[in-house]
């Protein structure tokens, strides 16, 4: 049942991303990659093995569905993102918020704590994504500019989405 639910959510995220957010590029530089919220908010009760596989499939689906995206770029970055998420959990979220990893419900965290958790992961994802994208025609200035602008834009929109759609689950 969970698999069907997550697949549905994934489909919704990808649909909105490709049809809406991919068209909302600011100054031809800042791309809001809001679809990452799906991976970042994945429940920790899902085993890490499955999380890796979901991230790979999700990233690859994003690559195929998006135009002007190098195939494999999203998959590579997504797998890295969920891997870092596992380690970052212990550092970013104090133990007072959860007893065990499986019991942690991200939407239940205070908004500032949640943003503190997802913001560095988002930034790393974007810098890796644009760095890999720039291979062969590397321009450090452009990579940093796209990363920073995309990061701010994505974080802003993600915060709105979290407030709008995940607030009900917060304690």
């Amino acid at each position: 049942m969970d698999i069907l639910l997550y697949s549905f959510f994934a489909f919704i995220y990808l649909l909105i991303q490709t049809t809406l957010f991919n068209q909302m590029v600011l100054f031809s530089i800042a791309l809001p990659q809001v679809h990452l919220l799906f991976l970042l908010m994945l429940p920790f009760r899902i085993s890490f093995t499955w999380t890796l596989l979901i991230a790979f499939g999700y990233g690859l689906a994003y690559d195929f569905l998006s135009s002007n995206v190098a195939i494999g770029l999203g998959a590579f970055s997504s797998v890295l993102l969920v891997t870092l998420r596992e380690g970052w959990l212990n550092l970013a979220i104090p133990k007072i918020y959860y007893d065990s990893r499986e019991e942690l419900v991200l939407p239940s965290l205070p908004i500032n704590q949640l943003l503190l958790f997802i913001a560095p992961l988002l930034f790393i994802y974007l810098i890796v994504y644009y760095f890999m994208d720039g291979i062969g025609n590397f321009d450090l200035g452009m990579v940093l500019l796209k990363t920073l602008s995309g990061f701010i834009y994505t974080l802003f929109l993600s915060t709105i989405l979290i407030i709008l759609f995940y607030s009900g689950k917060r304690k």
């Binding site: 093995t49 890796l52 991230a55 190098a70 195939i71 494999g72 590579f76 797998v79 890999m132």
Partner: protein, 287 residues
């Protein structure tokens, strides 16, 4: 085996992460030209580096063989050097025997002050008691009276008259021709001349009886003149007689040169000749 499976199970997430990342990269490099070019360049560079490392690695273990090869080549070079050195020593006496050695630059020529001017014989007498050679070079070509004439095989004569484009030489087969000569390897000197008769033989005189000579010994120029360099081939001892009255040998020398067959000869230009002649004239010792 069970432990191995346990270990693999423990590391399953790390392995899965690596596998998924590698698959992603394969997608990236195989489907995108921009990244593919960088990837191929990187792989080629990596392969070249690996090949270089491999070559260096095996070269290190092959140093012993390389060292032996170098020693072998060194030995061959040393042998070749000694052979060439020996040949150069030989040509100090026999220059220029073979056409290829005529190309030896002046810097490699023996330091005896002689230069070789190639000439062609245009007339040659053999049947007379006083024979002469006519050459196609004159003073325009640097020929001077008193220059020695040689062939590849040995002494031929001496220039006695020069015009602008031609010159005449007294042949070794001329009864008036005298040449200071010595036995190769000995420091006893005599005078060689042709007495008439067989044009293949000349006579060497004034070699003291106490000198140990044998048939076949080489007779060379003594160098006691500014005409011929020391040690140039004249011929070999064919026979000899002891003349007890005056205490000298009378030696029959088989001439190495064949005046009848000579076509190309060399005039020997002694660059110090004028200096020597002037000095001797001033001191009047040899007059």
């Amino acid at each position: 085996m069970e432990r191995l499976f346990q270990l693999l199970f423990k590391l399953r997430n790390a392995l899965l992460f690596l596998i998924l990342e590698i698959i992603s990269l394969l997608f990236l490099f195989n489907n995108n030209r921009q990244q593919q070019e960088v990837y191929l360049t990187f792989v080629q560079d990596l392969a070249a580096e690996a090949q270089l490392l491999r070559t260096d690695f095996f070269a290190y273990f092959n140093l012993k063989n390389e060292n032996e090869k170098l020693l072998y080549h060194n030995q061959k070079l040393r042998e070749a050097y000694l052979k060439i050195k020996s040949e150069l020593e030989t040509y100090k006496y026999f220059l220029p025997l073979k056409p290829e050695y005529r190309l030896i630059p002046d810097s490699l020529m023996p330091k005896n002050g002689f230069r070789f001017i190639p000439c062609q014989v245009i007339n040659n007498t053999l049947e007379r008691s006083y024979n002469y050679l006519t050459l196609n070079k004159g003073y325009k070509n640097g020929i001077q009276k008193g220059m020695g004439i040689i062939t590849d095989e040995g002494v031929m004569g001496m220039i006695i008259a020069v015009s602008e484009n031609h010159s005449v030489a007294m042949s070794i087969l001329n009864k008036n021709f005298r040449l200071s000569a010595k036995i190769f390897g000995e420091n006893f000197f005599g005078s060689i001349s042709w007495k008439g008769g067989n044009p293949a033989y000349a006579t060497l005189e004034y070699i003291p009886l106490h000198v140990d000579i044998r048939k076949g010994d080489t007779i060379v120029t003594s160098g006691f003149s500014s005409i011929f360099p020391e040690g140039y081939m004249i011929g070999t001892i064919d026979d000899f007689e002891e003349n007890n009255e005056d205490g000298f040998y009378e030696i029959s020398v088989k001439l190495n040169s064949a005046p009848g067959k000579a076509w190309h000869v060399y005039a020997l230009a002694n660059v110090y000749r004028n200096e020597i002649d002037t000095l001797e004239a001033q001191t009047k010792i040899f007059q």
